[in-house]
Amino acid sequence: MKKHFHLIFIGVTLLLLTGCKVDRGESINAVGSSAMQPLVEAGGEQYSSQHTGKFINVQGGGSGTGLSQVQAGAVEIGNSDLFAEEKQGIKAKELVDHKVAVVGTVPIANKEVGLDNISMSDLKKVFQGEITNWKDIGGKDLPIVLINRASGSGSRYTFEQWVLDGEESKQSQEQESTGMVRQIVSTTPGAVSYVAFSYVTEEVQPLKIDQIAPTEDNVKQNKWPIWSYEHMYTKGEPKGLTKEFLDYMLSEDVQANIVPQLGYIAVSEMEVERDAHGNLIK
């Protein structure tokens, strides 16, 4: 028996020792926003398949994790749904922003509420708890069930910035992820929340705002105001593989294929541009 233990011990130590000497190939880590993960992952997979021996490791963990890890120098790229300036505790000046896509956010409701349009001011009142029944704004007699994203998440921030004018919404149920929000809205009578365009499915009712439909064209012209950038941050100017990969993400290959396929909008197609404070600069 004893011999076996020793063998196992030796085996483990050997494994660990040899492990330290491994050449990990050329690889970089992109960590952060879980909403961006499919996009970066798809880009990374395609990049690796075209460049053998170069690997892009993509991880979720949230925008906050992405920004703090890239600032700490633990990873090469930090993915974020927010401008670094919008997060407290981040020295935005040290980070370089690479906007890789635009994503629109749309309010969604349960199919039973009997509405497909809502005015911006009503929407604000709904999320601030001033309107509590759908019948008050022309829907069915159903109490409104608010479902928010986790505070600090990109979607929540974008929604509060453009719908609630930066004020906070009423304390309510919170969910961490888009998939959960969609599932809950689709099964809970009277539920309302908000998701990225690409997550809208048959199961939920997207709401037009002041009769403006949530379409890509309306976002491009800024008629639909609830949209935000998807950022990939680097600490200082990118170098080496990081730079090559970021260039690739902004190349026609990705922007014209993967980006629209995943329901994002290419940055180059936007007719307007916003700065970190939400002001139009173009």
Partner: protein, 294 residues
């Protein structure tokens, strides 16, 4: 009410309770299997997953789950064996031992999120292991250690003291008695514990999200050099497991057939755990038979 009637009534109620528990589990299992099994096919089990198109499988995740389990066991079994031996054979009965036991209990009741984040900061960031199988395995070891240690200790303690006395009387040292007499005798118990622990590890998600990572890069199953990055055996590659995959599909998944993939993956996960359970019972009985008849 006469005592006789009370006795009958109580027996009836107890049968009822036992029945309810069996019904709860049976309906849980049937629900998961009925939802998932129709989507499970050989192709589903072997093809890689897709992040935003339909028709992805769970091949790599399945392999990752087993491989991660293997590595975790490789690290945690020797440590918990040692710790269990110490606690059952050497530990003096004083406050230090009490403190050690409390520490182990606490480790076992730690929320897995906390362990995951601790692993993230320590292994992924500080030790620069990155999101990798080894980071995940070390984090899972934290979970496994208290369970296994307690199991080893209990199995060893269950061995009758006359066995120890017999060993010592033959002139064996305490250590020799443990390794040559006690452990073989306690082996069925230890093994059962190990396999049941394996089931728990197999389904763990929260601790792995931040350590082993959430993506499963393509693997080259013809490359068995453990040092190459595309080899399945490399312990420094990131590895999404089955449980993490289910969690991811349901949280941020954007594939059109997400619900079916998740149902199928859940069914596979449950089947694997079932398998572990049967294996534990079967092997436990088998070894016990062999040991006692020999």
């Amino acid at each position: 009410m006469t005592p006789k009637k009370a006795d009958r009534l109580a027996t009836g109620i107890l049968y009822g309770i036992a029945g309810i528990i069996v019904v709860i589990l049976a309906s849980l299992l049937l629900y998961i299997l009925a939802q998932g099994l129709p989507h499970v096919s050989f192709k589903f089990l072997t093809t890689p997953s897709k992040s935003f198109q339909a028709g992805g499988g769970i091949g790599i995740q399945l392999f990752n789950s087993f491989y991660l389990l293997f590595i975790t066991m490789l690290v945690s079994i020797p440590i918990s064996l040692g710790a269990g031996i110490y606690l059952s054979e050497y530990a003096p009965n004083n406050w230090v031992t009490g403190l050690i036991r409390t520490a182990i209990e606490i480790l076992s009741s730690l929320p897995s999120v906390v362990v995951g984040l601790f692993g993230f900061l320590l292994f992924v960031v500080k030790a620069q292991l990155g999101f990798s199988i080894i980071s995940g395995a070390l984090a899972l070891t934290f979970f496994n250690l208290p369970l296994l240690t307690r199991n080893v200790e209990e199995s060893l303690k269950a061995v009758h003291f006359t066995q120890r006395e017999a060993g010592l009387a033959l002139g064996l040292s305490r250590w020799e008695t443990v390794t040559h007499v006690i452990i073989p005798e306690a082996l069925p118990g230890i093994l059962t514990g190990v396999i049941l622990g394996a089931g728990r590890i197999f389904g763990e998600a929260a601790a792995l999200i931040y350590t082993a990572g959430q993506s499963a890069p393509a693997l080259d199953f013809t490359n068995w050099n453990p040092l190459s990055i595309s080899s399945p055996l490399n312990i420094f590659r990131q590895a999404e497991t089955l449980a993490v995959h289910i969690w991811k599909i349901n949280s941020e998944g954007n594939m059109p057939d997400g619900p079916t993939v998740s149902a199928g993956a859940s069914a596979v996960l449950i089947l694997a755990v079932l398998l572990f359970n049967f294996l534990a019972r079967f092997l436990g009985k088998r070894i016990h038979k062999k040991m006692t008849s020999a």
